[in-house]
Symmetry: C2
């Protein structure tokens, strides 16, 4: 998505440790009109996939998943981090390693909302090593639901998580793929 690449180039900031900050529009301050455009793009990519539910993970993923759910006319579930005390009833849960923070955390979703009859689209703001996405895939598998694929705003291609999933036959659509950001220069996959 050319417009996302342009926005990363004009507003993104590269920090040591392969950190790309896009807090001005994607994961702290939210440019809502732009999120709606990304949601529409995602809905067009997956409109023929028979999606019945979107699954994302708190918190930033919610901001893209809601617009995508609006255009696909399906509910969004956001998996909760931590012990999820306030999830009622039984849950599917898994462990995810955070790229940004380095720690291991639990991710859970209520069995009530993720069903074996669902066809699920995963959505997240970032894809790096694929840890969060693999956690969500685990939850989908535990529920016996069908996985339609994953839609990501920004994939850091050089960290390999996206291609590893594609090599397993999972459809991963990233609106922008950064293949290199050495020397503070962001290079996109063409």
């Amino acid at each position: 998505m050319k417009e996302l690449e342009d926005k990363i180039l004009s507003e993104g900031e590269v920090y040591p440790g392969n950190i790309l900050k896009v807090g001005s529009f994607l994961n702290h301050q939210l440019d809502v009109d732009f999120l709606m455009k990304m949601g529409k793009e995602i809905s067009e990519l997956f409109e023929a996939a028979g999606i019945t539910k979107i699954l994302t993970i708190e918190a930033s993923g919610i901001a893209i998943a809601v617009p995508a759910g609006y255009f696909l006319h399906v509910p969004v579930i956001f998996a909760k981090k931590g012990q999820a005390k306030n999830l009622s009833g039984q849950t599917y849960s898994t462990k995810v390693k955070s790229f940004t923070h380095g720690n291991l955390y639990d991710v859970a979703v209520s069995k009530e909302y993720l069903k074996s009859t669902d066809t699920v689209l995963l959505i997240d703001d970032f894809l790096a090593n694929g840890n969060a996405l693999n956690g969500l895939i685990d939850l989908v598998n535990q529920a016996g639901a069908s996985l339609a694929g994953a839609a990501i705003a920004i994939e850091k291609g050089f960290q390999g998580g996206g291609d590893a999933l594609r090599n397993k036959g999972i459809r991963v659509e990233s609106l922008a793929i950064v293949d290199n950001m050495d020397n503070n220069t962001v290079v996109f996959r063409s």
Copy 2:
């Protein structure tokens, strides 16, 4: 908002300790079409208030703030919980006590996005004792921004946080106010 009251009556679950679960549409699974209606209602309530920015708190608040931002045509900022390692630069921060979990947590927002020239609308999914909202008000005050008021999906009126803020002259608009939920029966303020 009659439609929200009806949805609470048909889908909400009351648990001991004054817990009202609305995970089927508001804070775990998200009914996106309904969130858009709530966002539109909020935008109509505050359309004359000169809002330049919406401030919410991760995670559930994001799901209502994004639709409201869409209809008000303003950016949303979500305050981050915890130490917010991945906020670049300087932050305003404050401490909030969680009603659900009982613990004290830090809430932070980057100084880059909350400015003294902003007129801010606060949005959250729940208002009980008002702890989260008081934390957000503290952040707005630290930034020297103007506070237009707060828009809440569900206020638990019997916990007093909303009325305490109204008594201080703060405009608090809740789409549904639960005044009593003893004996598993939800009673709304008329």
